[in-house]
């Protein structure tokens, strides 16, 4: 399968197979007007199967979202057809207004104007909790 290489933009590589649509959704890639390619189940020596997303535009990528969703991801930054940087997004300590708390008894379900804040409480097990009610987010 052949997909045009990109001139200026990003190749998000080593996405766990099946996770690319989740990332597409969180990064709101549907709102872009440039070319976006999603490759699912690509062959990978390291992972067996993986997903890849290519974005043909220089934009501000939210690395926190990527680090939260999957910290094994590699972000390749492409400028003038060349790979200029490889970024490994880390798990952020805090997520602001990215994931809502699902606890219906949480104050965030009723209080207006409140930022939805999640805090990394257990790095080893990748556990995020709501800053308010402390229920598990992921």
């Amino acid at each position: 399968m052949y997909i045009d290489s990109i001139k200026n933009g990003y190749v998000i590589d080593h996405i766990k197979a099946g996770q690319s649509m989740e990332i597409y959704k969180y990064l709101k890639l549907n709102e872009l007007d440039c070319q976006v390619a999603i490759i699912q189940n690509a062959k990978s020596n390291k992972m067996g199967k993986k997903d890849i997303i290519k974005i043909d535009k220089e934009l501000k990528l939210d690395l926190d979202i990527l680090g939260y969703l999957d910290s094994n991801i590699t972000v390749n930054v492409i400028k003038d057809d060349k790979l200029v940087e490889k970024i490994h997004p880390e798990m952020p300590e805090k997520l602001v207004n990215i994931v809502p708390c699902k606890n219906p008894r949480c104050i965030t379900s009723v209080e207006r104007g409140l930022d939805q804040i999640c805090v990394l409480t257990d790095r080893e097990n990748r556990v995020y909790r709501c800053k308010y009610c402390e229920s598990r987010i992921n």
């Binding site: 606890n103 008894r105 949480c106 104050i107 965030t108 379900s109 009723v110 209080e111 207006r112 104007g113 409140l114 709501c130 800053k131 308010y132 009610c133 402390e134 229920s135």
Partner: protein, 304 residues
Amino acid sequence: MKNLIGIEDISVEEIDELIEKAKDIMKNRDKYSEKCKGKILATLFFEPSTRTRLSFESAMLSLGGNVLGFSSADSSSVQKGETVGDTIKVVGGYSDIIAMRHPKEGAPVVAEKSTTKPIINAGDGGHNHPTQTLTDLATIAIEKGRLDNYTIGLCGDLKFGRTVHSLVTALSRYKNINYIFISPKELTIPDYIKKNVLEKNNIKYTETTDLEGSIDKLDILYMTRVQKERFFSEEEYIKLKDVYILDNEKLIKAKKDLIILHPLPRVNEIAVEVDEDPRACYFKQAEYGRFIRMALILKMLNIK
């Protein structure tokens, strides 16, 4: 400790200090009767809880201070749609310290960001209720003379009962405590308490459905009620509500120096006849709640 949101906000040393202070207050009531003169405690109860509110108000009045507040959301501006943040900003200007109860979990976290005045969480949904835990700790410390080295049985609804989760978490910081969890199979202690609190700290515990068979081993028996509002079906509630009823007969095999605690209000889980038994400490426990809250108010207002 500027605010008290959850029991983990207080160190073991601070807990000891509060208990010592509470004991001193009990002995020297006159010495403390005007300590908070001119100070105002706001009791903001967005959800009614008469017992807890009266306990706070009694504590502040016993220190010579004043109280203001509301006892349910329908008597307040909340009904007109005011946020917790705005309510606290306003009341912070009217008072020196705020005790709040709210049906939504995490509400006190919003409150602490909205004022410079100290905030005491008097219960947020099924989440935290640290002054109940402080009351439980004070009762054990006063009645047993120590917070370590004993076997404690916790009986009833261990699944939804936040007072139990909070007490177990607080006690996990003390040495040589053996836990016996007594509950119906449907209401056992949650896995996250077992994993994150007990097993993580290498604490011994056993789980059983048998109250009578365990009672002779206990130094402390903490009874809880099965709360109707936690159940999805009436049927399930009726099936489980009276599984454990502590009565004089069950107490025959218990140790002479057992203490029986209960966060109150009770329904049927402790027979009224037990009230006469010297081992029944639950009404004393409520009274200690007043003195530990007095100690807490003093500490949070930086009054010696």
